[in-house]
Symmetry: C2
């Protein structure tokens, strides 16, 4: 992509309305623009990141055996009356009325509608287990939307719902998502810590928030040092018993400050192994049993011929929020530092002397080579000052910068800068291509 | 994908509520389920087709130089008051009020919001031309939603908006979309006929509907026989002058019955070259000049330093509607016949004797081979009657059926059936793989 024709409205100054670094950088890097309070337009650069995050989430959901569907954003109030949540939900639910006077709503979550799909189409225990997920926009009418897409009103979410015949099946589903979440965040270059969360009326240990560590995160978190070294399993057979993997993670202390008790024996026993850090919640997995299947009568015929309400769980990831969270976890004074897996482009190509025939030709050739090798490249071919080009490229945070100027070109080499480390080196065009084709 | 675990709730009987063939087949093939009037859930098979259609549209939009963005579904009424459409739009607009009492709406179209993005970020004629598009859900509160996703209330649409300095630029943008649309529909295996449509207050010839031909289509259309043989250009340089290509198409008579006058000289002169057929509108391209840029003051500094309101056009494709339209254009008594480019899977693998060790092993091996070769395959490994398996596979309409039974397996061959032609042949496993890997 040539920057001269790419819609990338970067800002030199920090926008006054942005209180957190991700909001500031997303505005400055031309990723988003506000439409109304808590409601955003995604511009080309931001949308590319959003799609990459979405894609990683989707691959890991599919690998874990979940099947993708898509439920509507506008829903009938009827199902919500069946579950009892229509009245309970409160003002965060955006209620509306259609032209025929029917009560509708912009769905903030989809337990009711997925339970309705289930009960209409699945009748036998033989068709279990099932996991349905979608990646779709939701609306929650927050009183005070803030921090950009971190706490917006219209937001993109992955929500998955599991259906099982019994508690043991629900536990297997829960474990699959537990492991899938570890893998998902790890692939994005994030360190995610699962933390026991409120289990609600069901009790038990099947409710976890996934918090990613970020120095500027909104929450204080406390956890066992060993969690910093634990990596999710690389190859995983989701049909196998995952309980042991899950136990390894669950057995290590981790709590948000709401739950953290510094006087507790389990905490004091940790000594120097207790880490205090900051983080951002990006996912939540939750077992809720028959909370919806009972009132909505989502039942299957069990092995002995009886009708059994199914056991359910739900598993969310905030996709649009993750884009901001990744920035909170990975930035410096100059701007964003994208982990390779979610970077909008892999390479930024900077022409240091636009208008100079030789340099233009050298850059154009390099650009074509990168495109042909399917290395995604944003080519700054604008007639701007060199300082502006460097600043913009650091701001938007592509993993690699390829810098082409008269001096290096005369020597037949090209300068490559690693955005994360700042390390620079000079390479032949062949070595450069080799490097940029590598996995990261 | 193994059908034993895939969520594909096919129906044997025609659902009473479905009046048109696409609605009937989408329900029967387990592609969609209704949530409320004109509002649908997309189940896994339907969603796969939707995403393929979406992807082809996206590729052709990108190739034509448009840049993808994403605008929110819930919008503030303010911008619509600026354009004057908030009051004008009528009851098709779903209006709502947020918790702070602000007037909002579920956007039925995005001229206002894209014009707002433009005016806030683009200031100079040097940054023109621009084309921004999105693929997103919209809501129009139809009085009588019907025909399934063909005329739903919540629907997926590609909407593109062009911004140019002058009429000549707007014409170039229009031509780019004209050609991109021809290519888009052709890639989906459809024959699309562009037809002059109402130009609105601007007058002129820059408004076309794209109608795809389908025997069960909703509209009567009349056009020059030569349009049946015209194919869109294969290789296209979108930076070149496309006027001649566009003229070739525009010069051939084509009209919907609202515009068709059988007595007109231009029509009677056609004689036997006049074709009467039926079709479905799937796209609309439209030049509207300064309709929004004037009231909303979307201006750029022109070459001579004056502020100039930009010239705009909009270009829509009904993505969810296209899924139904493709079925209207391509089906038979037994079910859907997917064109290869939009098929949810390329191959259906049918095990004729599930439970037989040798047949199961043969099918499993073939399934693994296809997966490894990245041929997308739906493997009917259910314990169902052979008649059910054949009927379901014909119903869901995958381009190729691979049929494995005891007799052919004993002879070392595999039966391959072409869903569109019904032709069957026997092939060695190697020849089969070769065939299925080919482009279609």
């Amino acid at each position: 992509m040539r920057l001269s024709t790419y819609f990338l409205p970067t800002l030199k100054e920090d926008p006054a309305e942005a209180q957190v670094v991700s909001h500031r950088l997303m505005l400055r890097a031309g990723m988003i623009r506000q439409h109304a309070a808590g409601i955003y337009n995604w511009l080309p650069l931001g949308l590319r990141v959003l799609r990459r995050v979405e894609w990683i989430v989707r691959e890991e959901q599919n690998a874990a055996g979940a099947q993708e569907i898509l439920m509507p954003t506008v829903q009938s109030a009827d199902l919500w009356r069946e579950s009892g949540r229509y009245e309970d939900y409160g003002k965060e639910m955006l209620r509306l009325t259609d032209r025929h006077g029917r009560a509708m709503l912009y769905s903030p979550t989809h337990e009711e509608s997925v339970t309705n799909i289930f009960r209409q189409n699945i009748k036998s225990y033989r068709d279990l287990p099932r996991m349905f997920y979608q990646i779709h926009w939701k609306f929650r009418d927050e009183v005070r939307p803030r921090f950009g897409v971190m706490r917006g009103r219209e937001f993109l979410m992955k929500d998955n719902y599991s259906f099982d015949l019994d508690y043991a099946g629900a536990r297997r589903a829960y474990n699959r998502m537990f492991v899938a979440y570890l893998r998902t965040f790890s692939r994005m270059g994030l360190r995610a810590v699962p933390m026991r969360a409120d289990a609600g009326p069901m009790g038990g240990d099947m409710s976890h928030e996934f918090i990613i560590l970020a120095a500027t995160g909104e929450s204080s978190v406390f956890f066992h040092r060993a969690l910093l070294e634990k990596n999710p399993p690389l190859n995983i057979d989701y049909t196998s018993n995952l309980q042991q993997i899950v136990n390894e993670w669950m057995s290590l202390y981790a709590a948000t400050d709401e739950k953290h008790d510094p006087q507790a024996t389990v905490v004091t026993a940790l000594g120097n192994d207790l880490i205090a850090a900051r983080g951002i919640e990006v996912g939540h997995i939750f077992y809720f049993g028959r909370k919806y299947s009972d009132p909505m009568r989502a039942m299957v015929v069990g092995p002995d011929g009886d009708l059994v309400p199914v056991e359910m769980g739900s598993y969310g990831i905030g996709i649009s929020r993750l884009v901001a969270a990744i920035i909170e976890a990975s930035h410096d004074e100059a701007g964003i530092i994208w982990p390779a897996a979610v970077a909008p482009f892999r390479v930024g190509l900077i022409n240091l002397k636009g208008g100079d025939t030789a340099i233009d030709a050298g850059c154009d050739a390099l650009y074509e080579m990168l495109c042909r090798a399917r290395v995604e490249v944003l080519y700054d071919d604008r007639h701007e000052r060199v300082g502006t080009k460097f600043a913009d490229m650091d701001l938007i945070g592509l993993p690699w910068q390829v810098i082409v100027g008269p001096k290096s070109l005369a020597r037949g080499v090209i300068e490559l800068k690693n955005r994360a480390t700042g390390a620079r080196e000079e390479l032949s065009p062949e070595a450069l291509m080799e490097r940029l084709r590598a996995k990261d």
